[in-house]
């Protein structure tokens, strides 16, 4: 039987094994018997993390005198909060008692006790119940009197947070609660897995909340992201202002958008309705908004041609927005009387319920033009194929890469990704909106430059050898570019 202190020691060793990068190596080598603990790190300090949401701290310590000769890693602990200590003690107590109860059962039924539970005699049941109750009582008394029940014991007070390799003398602790004060402890782990005494920080510290969360990539990479956002938004705003000054901006022809008027015209000539499907997501999805900007144009053209546009929606809020959009489009076309709000209606939130309705409606009413603009999933091909079967002219636009091939295969025109988002600017022809497309192009230039830079550096690193000084620096630069700036 494994006694509690031994079990605790084993669990701590296993914890360190699993927590750090050196764990795998240790697991392969196995656990040696001899114990030659290294000296503890002489000094340790904890600093609040600059530019974070108040949940991180940076721990630094001085090298153990035995590092690297007899140190393979450092184990980093943080103090538990009172609530965490109480919870740990409660959980440990429950586990301890459960273990003793199982042992009592084993003592009566033997090692195969689990298989015998269904065939117990009434007397055996009574005996086992009594033995388990007695064992539980004894275990509870033993636990309450022992060190495991002591909130001040090191095991209860400190929680293993992670580990670093030998010679790595700093560590970032995350997921802290700024309402609590924490003490940190570092132990040097010897090559024989024995641990030094703990070096503990002098005073408790609480992480503080800063105005800007610029934590590095491991915690979100927001420092670089804010720069990317500022550069990109700055470029878009610059080009919008540039366009406002009347500078000409050229945009290539997008066939799918050129065909909108043609499709509505065809429906008018055939005396059949147009069907507009704004995707299956709600108004908080940017694709739905982009789809509705196209609806504005379709509705306006339909109002001018006196065609009927039917908009079944999968979300109530989308229905309301579409109604406002179409009404305003009819108003701006000078045909407010022709607007019929009953043509824009809610069907269901259920994906395939919505598809079933649309397919049935398409087969029955045979719309002459079908527009699919928004977020689509598996329903994309069902809709597009049904539209194809009824001979409708179909224009689709989505930013779901997995659905694009289906639309391309089954529709007459497809707005692929960014074309879909450019639709509003393209259709309105407004210089301001066209200017934003130019700003978008700058973003593409930046991405292209970074890609060329990364590819160039990686190629050079492999040419000079990644182990050489230059190769190592180039690889590190690429890693920084990839993991910090682009992530």
């Amino acid at each position: 039987m494994i006694r509690p202190p031994a079990a605790r020691a084993l669990s701590m060793v296993l914890g360190v094994l699993l927590a750090g990068p050196v764990g795998a190596a240790w697991a392969q080598e196995g656990e040696p018997a001899a114990a030659n603990p290294p000296a503890a790190p002489p000094r340790i300090a904890a600093h609040d993390f600059l530019m974070d949401g108040g949940d991180q701290a940076r721990i630094v310590w001085e090298q153990s005198p035995d590092d690297p000769a007899n140190v393979s890693a450092y184990a980093i602990y943080r103090s538990r909060t009172d609530a965490e200590i109480q919870k740990k003690i409660k959980d440990d107590r429950a586990k301890f008692i459960a273990g003793r109860k199982t042992e009592a059962t084993k003592a009566i039924l033997g090692e195969d006790w689990k298989t015998m539970l269904d065939t117990l005699t009434p007397q055996q049941r009574i005996d086992i119940r009594a033995a388990r109750a007695e064992a539980a009582k004894a275990a509870a008394a033993e636990f309450d009197a022992g060190a495991m029940n002591d909130p001040a014991s090191e095991d209860n007070r400190f929680l293993l947070h992670g580990s670093t390799k030998s010679l790595e003398l700093k560590y970032e602790v995350d997921k802290l609660d700024r309402a609590n004060a924490y003490v940190f402890m570092v132990k040097a782990v010897g090559k024989d897995f024995s641990k030094s005494a703990g070096a503990v920080t002098d005073a408790p510290m609480s992480p503080t909340l800063e105005w800007f969360d610029g934590t590095p990539v491991q915690s979100g990479g927001r420092f670089w992201l804010v720069w990317i956002v500022l550069i990109f938004c700055g470029a878009v705003v610059f080009w919008i202002r540039h366009a406002r000054r009347g500078k000409p901006i050229r945009v290539r022809k997008i066939a799918g958008l050129e065909a909108v008027d043609e499709a509505v015209g065809r429906a008018t000539e055939m005396g059949r309705p147009c069907l507009f499907v704004p995707g299956i997501q709600d108004m908080n999805d940017i694709q739905t908004i982009a789809g509705i900007t196209v609806l504005a144009r379709v509705a306006r053209t339909a109002a001018e041609y006196d065609a009927k546009v039917e908009v079944p929606t999968a979300r109530s809020l989308v229905m309301t927005t579409c109604r406002e959009t179409v009404q305003a489009a009819y108003l701006s076309a000078g045909r407010p009387d022709a607007y019929n709000q009953d043509l824009i209606y809610y069907v269901t939130d259920e994906q395939f319920g919505y598809v079933a309705y649309l397919s049935g409606m398409m087969v029955r009413e045979k719309p002459a033009a079908c527009f699919y603009m928004g977020t689509f999933y598996a329903e994309s091909l069902i809709l597009a194929e049904t539209g194809n079967a009824i001979g409708a002219i179909q224009i689709a636009g989505t930013a779901m890469p997995a659905q694009l091939p289906f639309f391309v295969a089954a529709c007459d025109y497809t707005l692929i990704g960014e074309e879909f988002f450019a639709a509003s600017a393209y259709l309105s022809g407004s210089p301001e909106e066209l200017g934003s497309l130019k700003g978008q192009d700058l973003g593409k230039v930046i991405v292209a430059v970074l890609m060329i830079l990364g590819i160039g550096m990686m190629t050079l690193a492999s040419m000079v050898g990644e182990q050489s000084g230059l190769g190592e620096r180039l690889s590190a630069a690429v890693k920084f570019l990839k993991d910090v700036i682009l992530t």
């Binding site: 974070d52 108040g54 969360d213 610029g214 927001r222 938004c233 878009v236 705003v237 919008i240 940017i286 908004i289 982009a290 900007t293 504005a296 144009r297 306006r300 979300r315 109530s316 809020l317 229905m319 309301t320 406002e324 179409v326 305003a328 108003l331 701006s332 009953d342 809610y346 069907v347 269901t348 939130d349 259920e350 994906q351 395939f352 319920g353 079933a356 049935g360 598996a378 091909l381 069902i382 930013a399 890469p401 694009l404 295969a409 089954a410 692929i416 990704g417 960014e418 879909f420 988002f421 509003s424 600017a425 309105s428 909106e433 934003s436 497309l437 978008q440 973003g443 593409k444 991405v447």
Partner: protein, 234 residues
Amino acid sequence: MKRTAPMIILALGGFVLLVAYFIPYTQGWGEDAALWFDILAAIAFILGGGNLLKIHLKKMSDKVPGWGYSAVCVASFLAMLTVGLLKIGVHPNEQFPDYRWSGTYDQVGSPFWWLYEYGFKPLTATMFAMLAFYVASAAFRAFRAKNFEAILLLGTAFIILLGRTFAGVFLTGFIPEDSPMAGLKLENLTMYVMQVFNTAGNRAIMIGIALGVASTSLKVLLGVDRSYLGSGEE
């Protein structure tokens, strides 16, 4: 005012969410804004249900062609709504056995669960299953060798489809794994096409989409793009 107010609300909500990502002090505001959307969406369910009833009852009363479908829709809607809201046939929760309505409406074995499991789910599964046939018909049309690009597409599709089946492995099984020609084994060729050409194309589309999303969001937040309100003109 009818258009200005939504634009102000939208801009405020959008910028609060944006700022909350970078400024920890405002994280709560972002969560509040998201909560408001959830509240609106929940209320909108009533709007949606009301609209559904109105549209289909009107179709039934006008006896428009296909009004029978509307009757089925309304009946199904009301049946599910009644069974779910009144918790018909639901057993009380074990912790509150004295309260008849303490069980969950969708507990296993309840009428609502039964209707969902044996009525609704098979119907949606049927719709989803139809996708297989649509894939076949779309593939047949897409892979017709009309021009050079279509031939290229057909050839690539042929390699990918074969490479993902045992037939592909069998057909090029004679090429030794360690020979310089091993790259021509269909399963390796498939892997190469998927990992190199397909990934490159996908990434190009994804970069365009990401920039498009950011640009569109900015246009909407700044009020430059007002076409979702019907027209850019006031």
